[in-house]
C-alpha cells in the first residue's frame, strides 16, 4: 500500500520536482509537496483505490503529514469499515 501511495505522490503531486523517492516520514506538508489542491486529488485517489470515505473532519495533519501517517490512516479506516 505505501508503495502505491508513494508512487502517486511522486507522479501526481510532485510533478514539478525531480523527486524519485520519498522516505516514509518525509514531511509532505512542510516540504510543500502536499498543498491545498494536492490534498483534494490525494483524497480522491485514496477513496477510489481503497474504497473508503474520507470524512471532512479527518483531513488533519495527523492523517496526512507523511506517507506512514497516510498508510496508518487508511488501515484504520479499512479495519473500521470491515469490522
Amino acid at each position: 500500500m505505501i508503495r502505491e501511495i508513494h508512487d502517486y505522490v511522486i507522479t501526481e503531486l510532485a510533478t514539478d520536482r525531480e523527486l524519485r523517492t520519498l522516505a516514509v516520514e518525509d514531511d509532505l506538508i512542510a516540504s510543500g509537496i502536499l498543498d491545498s489542491m494536492g490534498i483534494v486529488k490525494l483524497i480522491q485517489f485514496i477513496e477510489d483505490r481503497y474504497g473508503i470515505q474520507v470524512e471532512d473532519d479527518e483531513v488533519i495533519p495527523e492523517n496526512f503529514q507523511h506517507l506512514a501517517a497516510i498508510e496508518a490512516f487508511i488501515r484504520r479506516k479499512t479495519a473500521a469499515s470491515a469490522g
Binding site: E12, A30, D56, I60
Partner: protein
C-alpha cells in the same frame, strides 16, 4: 470524465417551478422599494433580510430540525435564480449567500450538535446575521498564507489578527474565522472558529465603501487578544483548510445562481428596449449590431444556467464538484460582466444613467470575478483538475 447522465437536460418539477414563481412575486413585491436611494446611501435593509428569512430563503437547504427548509440543492439553486430575477437588490442577495454558504454550511458540516443548535436556528430565522472572515490585508488569493494566530490558553484560544473585506461584518452577530494554530504546518495548521460579536477582543471597523453591491455592508474585523472558548472551535485543530474548502465549494456552486435570474431579467429588458426604441425609422433590434449583442447575451444566459444546474445536480448526487463549481463560477461571473456591458451599450446614454437601473448591474457584476476566488484562481483550480 463527466457521466453521460450529466449531459441530459435537467427538468424542474411543477412544484419547483411553482415555488420559483412564488419567490419571483415575493421579491418583486417586497424587496425593490427605494433601491436607487438605498444603494446611493450604501444602506443595508434589515427589513428585507427579515422578509427573506420569513419566506425561508436563508434556511432553505438546511435541515428542518435546525429551523431550515430541508430543500435539495437543485431546488435551492432554482429559488436563488428566482430571487435574482425578482429582486434587483444584488447586495441583499449577496449578503444572504455569503451567510448561507460560508457561515451556515460550515457550521452544519463541521459543527458539534451544540453549535448547530445554538447558531443555525437563529441564522435561518434571520434573527442573527453571519459573516465569514478569511481574507487578510496581506493574504487574498494566497488565502492559506494568513497571519492571524490562535494560541492555546487554558480552556480555550486567544486569537490575534485582522480580517478584511468581511461581508456582513457591520451587522453580523456571528463570525466564522480562520487562524493558524501551527504556522509550520502551512495550510494544515489552520483552524476554524465561530466567534460571537460580544466576545472580548473582537471589534468591527467602519464599513468599507465599494463600487457595487453597496447595500451589502463590508468591513474589517480586528481580533486583539480575542478570547474564544474551546467549544467555539469549528471542527478539529488543523481542519481549517478543509472547512474553508467545503465552504468555497458550496459558495462557488451556488452563489451565482441568482445571477442567472438577473441575466434573464437583463435580457428581457434589453429585448423590450430594442423593440421599442426607434432610430433611423426602425426598432434598434432590427440592426444586426444590436441583435447580435442580444443573441450573445442569450447564449451566455443559457450556458450559465446549464453549468449552475449541472453542478447542483452533481452535488445532489454526492459527487465531487471541485472542478465543475470552478467552471460555473468562472463562466457565470465573466458572462454577467460582459452581458452587463452589452446591456449598457444597447441602452446607449440611458444605460449609463442611474435612473435606468442598467449600469448598476455592471458595478454589481465585477465583484463576482473577485469574491469566492478570483477568475484567475478558478482557472488554477480547473488547470489542476486537468492534471496541469
Amino acid at each position: 470524465m463527466p457521466s453521460s447522465e450529466s449531459l441530459v437536460e435537467l427538468s424542474l418539477s411543477a412544484e419547483q417551478r411553482e415555488l420559483m414563481e412564488r419567490v419571483r412575486d415575493f421579491a418583486r413585491r417586497e424587496l425593490n422599494d427605494g433601491l436607487i436611494e438605498r444603494e446611493a446611501r450604501s444602506e443595508f435593509s434589515r427589513e428585507a433580510w427579515s422578509k427573506c428569512a420569513a419566506l425561508g430563503i436563508q434556511g432553505l437547504p438546511f435541515p428542518v430540525q435546525y429551523g431550515g427548509g430541508g430543500a435539495d440543492v437543485v431546488t435551492t439553486v432554482a429559488v436563488m435564480e428566482a430571487l435574482g430575477y425578482g429582486c434587483r437588490d444584488a447586495g441583499l442577495i449577496f449578503g444572504i449567500n455569503a451567510q448561507m454558504w460560508s457561515v451556515q454550511m460550515p457550521i452544519l458540516h463541521f459543527g458539534t450538535e451544540e453549535q448547530k443548535r445554538r447558531y443555525l436556528p437563529k441564522l435561518n430565522a434571520g434573527e442573527w446575521i453571519g459573516a465569514h472572515g478569511m481574507t487578510e490585508p496581506n493574504s487574498g488569493s494566497d488565502a492559506f498564507a494568513l497571519a492571524t494566530t490562535a494560541r492555546k490558553q487554558g480552556d480555550g484560544y486567544v486569537l490575534n489578527g485582522t480580517k478584511t473585506f468581511v461581508t456582513n461584518a457591520p451587522v453580523a452577530d456571528v463570525f466564522v474565522v480562520f487562524a493558524t494554530t501551527d504556522p509550520r504546518l502551512g495550510f494544515m495548521g489552520l483552524t476554524a472558529f465561530v466567534l460571537e460579536r460580544s466576545f472580548s477582543g473582537l471589534s468591527v471597523g467602519r464599513a468599507i465603501p465599494k463600487m457595487g453591491l453597496r447595500t451589502s455592508p463590508m468591513a474589517e474585523v480586528v481580533l486583539d487578544e480575542c478570547l474564544v472558548p474551546v467549544e467555539n472551535r469549528l471542527g478539529p485543530e488543523g481542519a481549517g483548510a478543509q472547512v474553508f474548502r467545503v465552504s468555497m465549494e458550496w459558495e462557488r456552486a451556488c452563489i451565482l445562481a441568482s445571477y442567472v435570474g438577473t441575466m434573464e431579467r437583463q435580457l428581457e429588458n434589453c429585448v423590450r428596449y430594442a423593440r421599442e426604441r426607434k432610430q433611423f425609422g426602425r426598432s434598434i433590434g432590427k440592426f444586426q449590431s444590436v441583435a447580435n449583442r442580444i443573441v450573445d447575451m442569450k447564449l451566455r444566459l443559457e450556458t450559465s444556467r446549464h453549468l449552475i444546474y449541472r453542478v447542483a445536480a452533481r452535488k445532489a448526487r454526492g459527487e465531487d464538484v471541485t472542478m465543475d463549481a470552478a467552471l460555473a463560477k468562472l463562466h457565470v461571473s465573466e458572462s454577467f460582466v460582459q452581458s452587463s456591458l452589452d446591456a449598457i451599450q444597447i441602452h446607449g446614454g440611458y444605460g449609463y444613467t442611474t435612473e435606468f437601473e442598467v449600469e448598476r448591474d455592471l458595478r454589481d457584476a465585477v465583484a463576482a470575478r473577485l469574491y469566492s476566488g478570483t477568475s484567475e484562481m478558478q482557472r488554477n483550480i480547473i488547470a489542476a483538475g486537468l492534471g496541469l
